[in-house]
Assembly symmetry: C2
Homo-oligomer: 282 residues x 2
């Protein structure tokens, strides 16, 4: 964690970065967030992240404490003060401090925190070169996974369960046996050279990296089928990978006890990862 954080109007030492116990983010998960990667001092897909943050706030009727431009200035200032060239900006907006009551208060001032941390994208690239194991976990989340809210308890439980099974990421599976997404990532498979990924209108988060990879795939003339795929289908796929701001395009080489293809990253995921780094680094 970097030294300086932005908390409700001030740049403070992270050691002294506090919010009130009656912040509704703390007692009700009444907040939304974004994670934005930083490459060579540039915020990757900033506008798309701001669009999604504003959409999440709109869905919860949280009024942003400031406009998009002032917020972007804070992101850059947090990045600058912490001297982060490659890393990750975390921004969280909550409904603010109010006496505990389930209904929305009419007087709370929304709270805003912005932090950042360093991230080694070479390590991400190295991890992608060998791929990771994933494990299936039941998707027991709520009905509005399109909102990027801080009510992440099911996500962290799934991630932890996966980790305890020796896996790097959880693959969330709905009651019908279809993959929804990862604990904090979007899931993809490759079959006969074309990509399959669940539609983002199907109660999953509309991933920013997912959208970027879709564009890149289109430029590379790789076709995409937007539909739900089952765990069985995933285990028999030619490739499987997930996308997220910090993992970019990460091959899954083993799902539960089943190797995906020959258990090494496939050519499509590699090609997309290279193209994604071309995009972020230029």
């Amino acid at each position: 964690m970097a030294r300086i954080a932005y908390v409700n109007g001030s740049y403070v030492s992270t050691a002294n970065a506090y919010v009130h116990i009656n912040d509704r983010g703390y007692q009700f998960a009444d907040g939304v967030y974004e994670g934005i990667s930083i490459r060579y001092n540039k915020l990757i897909d900033l506008e798309a992240h701001l669009d999604r943050l504003w959409r999440s706030m709109d869905e919860l009727a949280i009024i942003s404490p400031m406009g998009r431009r002032p917020m972007a200035i804070i992101f850059n200032e947090v990045m600058r003060r912490n001297r982060i060239r490659d890393g990750f900006i975390y921004v969280q907006v909550t409904r603010g401090v109010a006496t505990r009551d389930h209904g929305f208060p009419d007087y709370a001032k929304p709270a805003l925190i912005v932090t950042c941390r360093r991230l080694n994208f070479d390590a991400v690239r190295q991890r992608a070169a060998s791929g990771v194991a994933a494990s299936t976990q039941p998707d027991i989340r709520w009905g509005r996974c399109d909102i990027k809210s801080t009510a992440l308890l099911p996500n962290i439980l799934a991630k932890q369960a996966a980790r305890e099974e020796g896996a790097f990421e959880a693959v969330l599976v709905d009651k019908e046996g279809f993959v929804t997404e990862g604990s904090s990532t979007n899931m993809w498979i490759v079959k006969a050279g074309h990509l399959i990924t669940r539609s983002t209108s199907d109660n999953i988060l509309s991933g920013i990296t997912l959208a970027r990879i879709k564009e890149i795939a289109s430029e590379l003339d790789i076709t995409i089928e937007e539909r739900a795929f089952s765990v069985t289908e995933a285990k028999e796929a030619d490739e499987m990978f997930f996308t997220s701001s910090t993992n970019c395009t990460m091959p899954i080489v083993k799902l539960d006890d089943k190797k995906i293809s020959d258990g090494t990253p496939g050519p499509v995921a590699k090609r997309l990862l290279d193209a994604y780094f071309d995009y972020t680094d230029n």
Copy 2:
């Protein structure tokens, strides 16, 4: 909100009651809570609340920062320092402060906050004398509603939606049209003199007041059927009411646009409320 709060080892002014921004309760809703009512300086059903708090922590593998007795001492001390005779203790335990990462940290020290506030139980009794309106809202919560977690975003959205429709409480309804519970309460109906309430093994919270009312009903020789009931059944019931620590036994006299019976509180709810106050006040 009372003047003094307990926060991670200290009794502090509520105005200065802060937690770190990296408290996982703030970023992941990685925490649990209880609300315990206070009548004549006595914590009502304290042991049952502690049992449930410990169960919630166990389910999330959060290690309590202290034992039950020291925690109860803090509840009493917060009550005493704030001179609360009739009110409400709020306790929240989170997994603690850690660098943001979905999986559980192995070094975080669980965080504990305890607050209290005054509550006028005469006002509750008055409200119960006229009853309240409720409105049905789709239950879009996650699959582990048995855990009293702070991931309450769906609950607050339901409560707010109900409030915007002029109702006091939301009646959550599953996809099959059956009532699950309220936004922070348990739901009951009365038919031909006997009580019907959903089984607490059916993905709802095991209400402490619900359990107490079950005991009281049994003492009063009122039979209870533990099963799911539909919205249609509720609208045609002789009585409908909900239970919670702060609402005790609250009659619902109108559900959406339909009056329950003649639109006034019924005799069974009244009898249970009187018996509940007899229990808490003696």
